[in-house]
Amino acid sequence: MTAVMRPNASVCPACDAGPAAAALASGAELAQDARLALSLPTIHCGACISTVERTLDAHPGVRSSRVNLTLKRATVEADADVTADALIALLESAGYEAHELDAGSLSATQADKAGRDLLMRLAVAGFASMNVMLLSVSVWSGAEAATRDLFHWISAAITLPTILFSGKPFFVSAWAALRHRRLNMDVPIVLAIVLAVMTSLWETMLSGEHAYFDAALALTFFLLAGRYLDHRTRAIARSAAEELAALEVPRAHRLTGDTEETVAVSALEVGDLIRVRPGGRMPVDGVITEGQSELDRSLLTGETVPVFAETGLQVSAGEVNLTGPLTIRASAVGKDTSLHRMADLVAIAESGRSRYTSLADAAAKLYAPGVHILSALAFVGWYLYTFDIRTALNIAAAVLIITCPCALGLAVPAVTTAASGRLFRKGMLIKHATALERLAQVDTVVFDKTGTLTQGTPDLVNAEDMTLTQFEIAMALSVGSSHPLAQAIFSKGQKAGVGLALVSEIFEVPGYGTTGVWNGQPVRLGRASWVGAEPLGQVSTFLQIGAEDAIALRFKDALRPGAADAVRALRESGKDVLLISGDSTGAVEELSARLGIAKWIAEALPADKAQKITALSEAGRHVLMVGDGLNDTAALAAAHVSISPATALDAARVASDIVLLGNDLGPIPEAVEVAQKATRRIRENFRIATLYNVIAVPLAIAGLATPLIAALAMSTSSITVSLNALRLR
């Protein structure tokens, strides 16, 4: 990012008395607002790029804009007074869907320093190994005496600085492991590289025949390739996850006196008055000081029935305001809100999961000591046999190079890259490195209800209880409302082709319902207590015409697409399916009967959910938790592996290993299958690598392994392993 000089806004030359202060002020302003990021999910072609850029550049105040087609994103440099809303409206009129992205949460993706660093090291290693390989080929094909020595010296001159630069990630990681008195995969790697370079240098000085410079470089190159693949897979997932988080721009409307200003949520303080519009989410914990409405708490507690809200009620961050505008006085902000306190629960739950050791680490634990012992034995054996330290050292180096986990280092990243790529195309984001391995072990699946198995949007079930006239009146009363029940009535009526009755004086009473006048008599649609009816145990609203008895309209939570199929497929593959929800017993029982889930728990508090999961894990089960709400976060973190839909709260997405990008739950059983296949493939790759070792190690110990054989064994095993991994795609 380049610093943009801002033309001095002052007109009179005398005003330049305090330029430092002005520069400071404008600098702060620039840093905050000069850069806007927009997500453009529908752009796809070259013409789109130029249309979008031309549209944006034509807007007054926009200095420059740049579209990134790969990320489907546009970055705009603009004056501080240009708002994202204006640009979005502009793009929408040009025919492109646009969403604002929080530039702050995206900054990490743009400077993917670690990835670039690895790529650079990989490139240097590739360049050096190709050159050294060419020199080695001439040595293998018979270069002798002075020529061979010259080639060896040139190889050494190329190899030494390259190993120092490219091998740095391995040196750092091996040193970190050794310092904690542990062994990881990088320890034998580093030992092999260092020993190979040392003995080759010694051989070169004595104008010997065998030098392993090419092997040391090829090793570094292949292993770096594995490391880079691994990094890229995770970087793609991370950037997609960051984009999800950036879509929720944290803004709040603060009231100061009579004026309302839009500020970042982080700028709010305790005691501030905040206005929350219908459909908006509570940015902080607080107390309602003005207004009446209903609150949707489903993301926090799993309850589907909206709660009546009036002055004096405590609200928590994350609740959604449904009908009327509310003013709240903040009582806790930022880290102190109930939303953030949930993080403590998550931290406790997560400590259990970190005990998982990945397949690669497990293999390294077996493998690393074995390799060291083997090469030490070869050294001792040959030394006792010949009493020639040079031969013994040469053979020990050959054993280390041949056994070096070149294929092992590629075995896991190649498979996870292929599997993650396949799942990404199906709409699943693998966030955690070992998530696939853990997913493969799952034998119990726990679902949350609201927002996970169901969409969290109600569906009218007894429309036939109304006459056509009554339905038309209900339609007319619900047409303008943003309340989810009213919207459900309206969409049901629209689908059935029901028109609107002529209702006048429609007026929404926040927190209660909608009233109007039809044929001279008052009509009402709303809460039971408001129309004088008995409340029902389930989600319902009431329609009252004149003085007649109110008609109950009952709602059911609509199933998420693919939910029934996913549950059935999981049960058919022999997994135990459970439903744990914070909702009322009636609603949970009804849904589990509908989906055929035998075990269910209702009215569970967040801590209960996490406890149940821990109990299951202690009984030896590997639990997959699927959930979306804040009340699920602790359970998501406690489970062996967890999935959350993209519609989930940010906290829930952070706590889970896998994010479902689409609306459909269908890919879950398939993901389990792909994960099992991937794990099988990883084990297969380990076996292939072992097979190569079984053939090549005796040769090396016998002292028959020339640098040529080492190079051949290494390349073929690496290529076989990569090809085997590609079969997953």
């Binding site: 790029i49 579209v67 990134n68 087609l69 790969t70 650079m120 490139a123 360049f127 050159n131 010259l150």
Partner: protein, 52 residues
Amino acid sequence: MNILTYLIPISLLLGGVGLVAFIYTVRSNQYDDPEGDARRILNDEWDDRPKP
């Protein structure tokens, strides 16, 4: 075999040029938007001078 004194430095130099060119492309963000850049080159909008 004296020809080697010229050929080896020349081949190393050529390889090095390739490496430096690659590092330059990485440093100047040329891999940030491969898909967009592939399409931009077909567009005649900025043919006379580069986009600022």
